[in-house]
């Protein structure tokens, strides 16, 4: 005995409708339907209502006959599964509402379908029905108007979070409105899309008007002469159709794209997470699906690139967000071919030159920063009254200077290793001595440099005296320490051994000797 698995139709509807959360997906589905109906004008109106949102989509397309209407409402009898995802599923998103009204005119007949409380009924395990009425209209009257009342968004989705910006971005990146098909077709069909949001949603403008084409910012092959010369540079990479052979067949890949700086990329209709939108996109029906930035070799920042790779042999997941057939030979062959194509783009002399101009711009800006910081430094040199070291190397310069200028001061630096614990070996009164060099004496203790092998600590100034006191009070690396400021020495005792370290403050050497004034 053969048994067919049963389908609970109500649950099926519920589940498919639940896959869609975002009212924007209503727009995506409607636009695709309008495009298929060869519409040239589409108007989308969205109003926020207490229960959800009202969405009205109106187009001047070919309209629907009864069979089309059945497809619109039914599950699984669409013949168009080869198009974006599963077209038969898309319109089921409308079921998440209180009322669906479709008015559609075709060949002199207007059909009106009304479905009341579809969501409520589905949730009561009841299959909602629609009422169909017909009326004659003039042949020229064509088009479809769909009104969805109180559309329920997904959990936590607020229709008021929609803005013109967000919709524009979504249209251009995720729907047929951002199609790159026009690059490849001789007579591409065009649609004008108008979106009208209620004031309670976004009152920054009256409406949004856009087309069904994704255009690139104008080319600018030469650098500008401002501070960021490469920022507006932009090159288009002409549409290319490449035949790809794979284990089991042939497919066609259509690639079009641009490379450009930040200012050029900002002219693309995007907002928000700007950076993640660039790179290389796989597309089906010329609608971007998923990024494959790994096809750009790692040493090139994908952010400079925006390429759309269309391949009709890609299969999409039910919600159209990802590619489903990634383990198939066709996907791998296409990806390899794209990688090869992108390797040519990244080696394109124009791109190399663009990177070079960016680099030069950066160096120029750095030189300017250098210049202003040099100006500051020269100013402080001019203004100060005496030589004032501010780092270890300058402390060494102070030593040399003191040897030349101060009678009776004899100290020569014979060896200097900036990274060593004991940085210098100096000749002092004929003897070689191991010397630590610091700008401030306190640094020595802060760095926990050992004291055992040091004969001398040379520094410019003492630093915070309380820090030195704390060292004396708490001990240093397991030993006892005593700093004698009067005689200029440190005594350090650890494990029964005692070290004696001489201190040499250069501030004292440079201090103009004040002669004692006789008080007679």
């Amino acid at each position: 005995m053969k048994k067919a698995p049963k389908v609970n139709e109500v649950n099926e509807f519920l589940e498919i409708a639940s896959d869609f959360e975002d009212p924007l997906e209503v727009i995506r589905e409607s636009l695709s339907n309008s495009y298929d109906a060869e519409a040239s004008e589409i108007e989308i109106t969205i109003r926020s209502r207490p229960q959800g949102s009202d969405i009205i989509i109106e187009d001047d397309g070919n309209g629907m006959n009864e069979r089309d209407l059945e497809s619109f409402f039914d599950l699984g009898n669409s013949q168009k599964t080869d198009s974006i995802g599963y077209k038969g599923h898309g319109t089921k998103i409308f079921y998440k509402s209180d009322r669906i009204v479709v008015n559609t005119a075709k060949n002199g007949v207007n059909r009106r379908a009304v479905m009341d409380n579809p969501w409520e009924k589905l949730n009561r395990q009841e299959l909602p029905e629609y009422e169909l009425t017909k009326a004659d209209v003039r042949d020229e009257n064509q088009g479809t108007r769909i009104k969805i009342t109180n559309f329920r968004s997904g959990e936590g989705f607020d229709p008021e979070s929609l803005t013109y910006n967000k919709i524009h971005h979504y249209l251009k990146w995720k729907t047929i409105a951002g199609s790159t098909a026009h690059f490849f077709e001789d007579n591409p069909r065009e649609m004008d899309i108008r979106v009208d949001l209620g004031e309670e949603i976004d009152d920054t403008r009256d409406e949004l008007v856009t087309t069904s084409r994704l255009e690139f910012p104008d080319e600018q092959l030469e650098p500008s002469d401002d501070e960021f010369p490469a920022e507006r540079m932009c090159k288009h990479y002409e549409p290319r159709e490449i035949e790809v052979e794979y284990d089991g067949g042939m497919t066609t890949v259509q690639i079009v794209g641009m490379v450009g700086g930040k200012a050029a990329r900002n002219e693309l209709p995007t907002h928000g997470r700007h950076s993640v939108q660039f790179g290389v996109w796989f597309a089906k029906d010329h609608i971007k699906v998923e990024q494959i930035n790994e096809t750009i070799s790692h040493d090139n920042e994908f952010i400079h690139f925006f390429f759309i790779v269309n391949c009709q042999d890609l299969e999409l997941s039910a919600n159209r967000e990802t590619i489903r057939n990634k383990s198939n030979p066709v996907f791998r062959a296409v990806r390899d071919e794209v990688e090869f194509y992108m390797s040519k783009v990244t080696q394109d002399p124009w791109f190399k030159n663009y990177l070079e101009i960016r680099r030069e711009g950066k160096l120029k800006r750095r030189a300017r920063t250098q210049e202003s910081s040099l100006q500051d430094r020269r100013k402080s040199v001019t203004e100060r009254e005496r030589f004032e070291p501010s780092n270890r190397a300058e402390v060494l310069l102070a030593v040399e200077r003191a040897s030349q200028q101060q009678a009776g001061f004899s100290l020569q630096v014979e060896d200097y290793q900036p990274d060593a614990d004991i940085q210098a070996i100096v000749r002092h009164q004929g003897k070689l001595r191991n010397a630590a060099i610091h700008h401030q004496l306190t640094e020595h203790f802060k760095n926990e440099s050992p004291l055992e092998h040091i004969d001398l600590i040379i520094y410019w100034e003492q630093g915070d005296p309380t820090k030195l006191n704390e060292v004396e009070r708490t001990g240093y690396i397991g030993g006892e320490i005593e700093i004698d400021h009067d005689s200029g020495s440190i005594t350090y005792q650890r494990d029964g051994d005692s070290s004696y370290i001489e201190l040499l403050s250069l501030t004292d050497v440079f201090k103009p000797k004040t002669k004692a004034i006789a008080d007679d």
């Binding site: 090159k235 090869f340 390797s343 040519k344 080696q347 394109d348 002399p349 124009w350």
Partner: protein
């Protein structure tokens, strides 16, 4: 002053970007360029009966002359040119007597090599004799110097000869390189003197990895030999010292690109350019950059390592080959298919056959490259590179670089 009738002539027939195809004429011989000179030891220690021996070299020579031992056949078109080195005489323990008797008759005039009439390029062997090379000529009681080298080149019956040079090594200091350039320059002076009545082609050796090194080399040379004399006396330029860098494609491309620039700046760019010791995957790229000839022993070394060329880009272990996909005369012969499968008394007959197949593959690809250069525009050669070298991930970037640099790029 009477003009000496030069036996040598180089004529460019077609160009595609920087790539060019032409004809080298030496006496009555004509050689299409770009072309590959397979490296071959004509002397391999044996007697005339063993084609002067030489293991795998012997088998290759038997192919070259279509000997009975390899079942006959005409392979001469793949031996339209060959490269050998003076140093090859020293690869075997040759006695003084045998050395003298071997050089009695020029190679191409021997009855044995009668079917062979390719262009014979005889290297000076500087890389083997000099500067730490392991051979000094004492085996056959000959002091190797420029005079001796030239004498051997002449006695072998060379069509193209090189002066005795001192190749540089990757870690040489500037001073060491200049010292070598000076020694080379002294050889050049002597070479030009000795060979003034040589009726083949004389190639000048040039060493360096970039423009400045080659420029400094030429500065040194011309401080000893007059620039004009060099220009008048030499017929071609051979770029050397690249063998240790042969796997560094980036450097190789840079060196050849810079070499062309140096030659241009020195007014030597009307001479054909030969790159010593480089072949296989680099060939299409170097040809695209305008190199006219190459020499290599890779066809043979790969065969010895059991590698069978499927194309210039790809080789497979000989044990995995079915030979049906190759219609070359070697693979078409039942005898050689059997031998390549391992059914042969001597290893040299297995690997010799593979080597000749490998050579044929390279020669056929070069013929394709010449055709592509002759075709209209740069697109045919560009497409060739796009479908061969650029498909290899290791060489992809340099391939694109060459296409961009010398063939007009992909996005014009």
């Amino acid at each position: 002053m009477s003009q000496v009738t030069r036996r040598f002539d180089f004529e460019v027939d077609a160009v595609a970007g920087d790539a060019r195809t032409g004809t080298l004429r030496i006496g009555s011989q004509e050689l299409a360029t770009p072309n590959l000179f397979p490296v071959l030891n004509f002397y391999g220690g044996g007697t005339e009966r063993s084609v002067f021996g030489g293991g795998i070299h012997r088998t290759i020579k038997e192919f070259m002359i279509g000997a009975d031992r390899i079942g006959g056949g005409d392979y001469s078109e793949y031996f339209d040119c060959t490269m050998t080195s003076v140093a090859s005489l020293t690869d075997y323990n040759i006695t003084h007597e045998r050395y003298q008797s071997y050089l009695d008759t020029p190679i191409k005039e021997r009855e044995l090599f009668e079917p062979y009439n390719g262009t014979l390029f005889v290297d000076s062997g500087g890389f083997k004799f000099l500067d730490g090379g392991d051979i000094d000529g004492s085996d056959f009681e000959v002091d190797i110097d420029q005079e001796k080298i030239y004498e051997i080149q002449k006695k072998m019956g060379a069509d193209i000869i090189l002066n005795l040079d001192h190749p540089i090594a990757p870690d040489d200091s500037h001073e060491q390189r200049m010292e070598k350039a000076e020694k080379t320059a002294l050889n050049i002076a002597e070479f030009l003197d000795l060979s003034s009545d040589f009726d083949g082609a004389r190639y000048l050796t040039l060493h360096g990895y970039n423009y400045s090194m080659m420029d400094a080399f030429l500065e040194k040379i011309t401080s000893i030999v007059d620039t004009r004399e060099i220009h008048e006396a030499f017929d071609g330029v051979a770029l050397g010292s690249l063998v240790p860098k042969k796997d560094n494609r980036e450097l190789l491309i840079q060196a050849v690109t810079d070499c062309q620039e140096v030659l241009q700046d020195w007014g030597f760019d009307d001479m054909p350019l030969h790159v010593l010791g480089i072949s296989s995957r680099a060939v299409p790229l170097l040809a695209a950059l305008g190199v006219d000839s190459f020499d290599a022993s890779s066809y043979l070394h790969n065969a010895i390592n059991g590698k069978y060329y499927k194309s210039m880009m790809e080789s497979v272990p000989i044990s995995e080959v079915s030979f049906e996909n190759c219609d070359c005369p070697v693979c078409s012969s039942e005898l050689h298919r059997q031998r390549m499968r391992g059914d042969a008394e001597y290893q040299k007959d297995i690997y010799g056959a593979v080597a000749v197949h490998n050579l044929i593959i390279q020669k056929q690809e070069l013929a394709t490259i010449r055709d592509r250069i002759r075709a209209e525009g740069t697109a045919p050669l560009r497409e060739y590179i796009e479908s061969t070298v650029a498909r290899d991930k290791q060489t992809r970037q340099v391939a694109h670089k060459v296409v961009n640099q010398s063939l007009g790029g992909y996005f014009q």
